[in-house]
């Protein structure tokens, strides 16, 4: 029998359940997160137009850089203000 040492961090990932998917967007606030990739803003501008046409409330957010995880305060702000969020990956 061979015995070796575990090279990983041995952490069991915390099981955070996804928020329930809404049946409809009616009456909800939609967050639009620009990750600062070039032209992501153009995509989100168009999405905003479409959502506003449907009478939805939209909040815009922007990550300082796409190369780093969103700052914890920004994540908290989005979670507090919005019911759903759309994130734009772009180039």
């Amino acid at each position: 029998m061979t015995k070796v040492l575990d090279p990983t961090n041995e952490a069991t990932p915390a099981d955070i359940p996804r928020a329930a998917r809404p049946e409809t967007l009616d009456g909800l606030t939609v967050g639009l997160l620009d990750i600062s990739k070039p032209r992501g803003d153009r995509f989100l501008d168009r999405i905003e137009e479409r959502l506003v046409e449907r009478g939805l409330r939209v909040e815009r957010f922007r990550k300082p850089t796409f190369t780093k995880p969103a700052p914890v305060d920004l994540r908290h702000e989005i979670a507090t203000k919005c019911d759903v969020v759309i994130e734009a990956l772009a180039d």
């Binding site: 061979t2 015995k3 070796v4 040492l5 575990d6 090279p7 190369t67 780093k68 995880p69």
Partner: protein, 482 residues
Amino acid sequence: MSLNESPTLPEGLVAVVKKDCPTCELIIPVLIGLEKETQLTVFTQDDPDFPPGINDRQFDEELAFSWHHNIETVPTLLAVEEGKEVSRTVGWSRSNWESLTKIPGLGRDLPDQRPGCGSLSVDPSISPDLELRFGGSSITARRVEFAALEDTHEALFDRGWTDGLPVVPPSEARVAAMLKGTTRSPEEVVASIPPDLAPCTVEKVAINAVMAGCRPEYLPVVLAGVEAVCTQTFNMHGLLATTMPHAPVLIVNGPIAEQIGMNSGNNVLGQGNRANSTIGRAVQLVIRNVGGGRPGEVDRAAFGSPGKVGFCFAERENDSPWPPISTMYGFPAGTNTVLAFPGEAPRNLVDQLSRDPDSLARTYAANLISIQHPKLVLGFDAILAVAPDHSRVFRESGWSREQLAERINELTVRPGHELVRGAGNIPEGIPEGMKDSDLPKFRESGLHIVHCGGAAGLFSAIIGGWVNGEMGSDPVCVEITP
């Protein structure tokens, strides 16, 4: 008695011998004589019937006595008073044995002296296990057992713990030996490893260093490499997640490079040197195994590069025209350091005809402007690796590193209107707003000129950088501590 307790020393004289030692054979008559005249206990390591003719003979089969009492040579003779060792002698030397036993005329028929043999307890194939059994283990990592019918190498692949190449199975004995390469405590946290931001101890680094194939004396360099890449400044998370091919390139400076046998010369960026090949690999395995950074998951590289297995080399300091590259980061020459640079694969640059520094600088500039895209400037740093056949030109003309970097930068300057988006019928380029500026390829201190490579070949090499600054990564240099 627990395994970690030292076996009691018998009073009087204690001899430790093994049959497989000609000097031990030689001194049998001396031992028989001593047993008659004084109180003698003989510990034998390899054969319970050796030496013949001795009554008080103890078989040190488990080598517990030999290990706990630091027997390195057989025969060893100890004098014990009130349970404590008061003197010892190793091998056979009539005068030393006489002075230790206070008995004259020992072994008259024997030569005056004979060196002993290695104690079984320090046999390299046995001592790591003894260390583990008797020294007590402070290792806290989870033990993973493989079934007898499992192929260990296949089992390591199956668990996703390798980079696609075989790894050395991280047994407890190997990891304990690896940890002797540093004075740092196994439980000390070295860094939070992206992308999972998992706290990583010295012990976890040691496990991955074993797997990468490192020797214990490389561990301080691996630890410094892990520290350097896991800083906010270096931004390992972004470097891992990017679709670009870059990865940490580790450059080692200071006397440690030669002490651990690193390569800074022939084939410096290639294969064949254990330290170069395994140190970079160990850092990458830490990111994979402790940080959870795996290709196709958080690692989104479109191409990647062969250097993502591990990319580490030493600067050729001994005949460099310039001080070590670490001096750019404020470390005095002679300091052991690791510089982490976010780099892609190297490419060669030929100039076999230039014999003056300015024409070489022109060759460098002409090649360097193409990094990532000739129309993209200021956003990417570079390593320029200069080999001895080129560096000789700069030494003879007295060009400093700064002077060369400045000249290259001057030569790369181009008008913004040639670089903006759309210029030259190429949409890629810098923003329109920069069209009226004259711009160099590199930001200040973006060019890292390093001396390395084999003695023959009128070449230099370029290693392009990833997005620099706040948006991406800045190189980080840290001191290597024991």
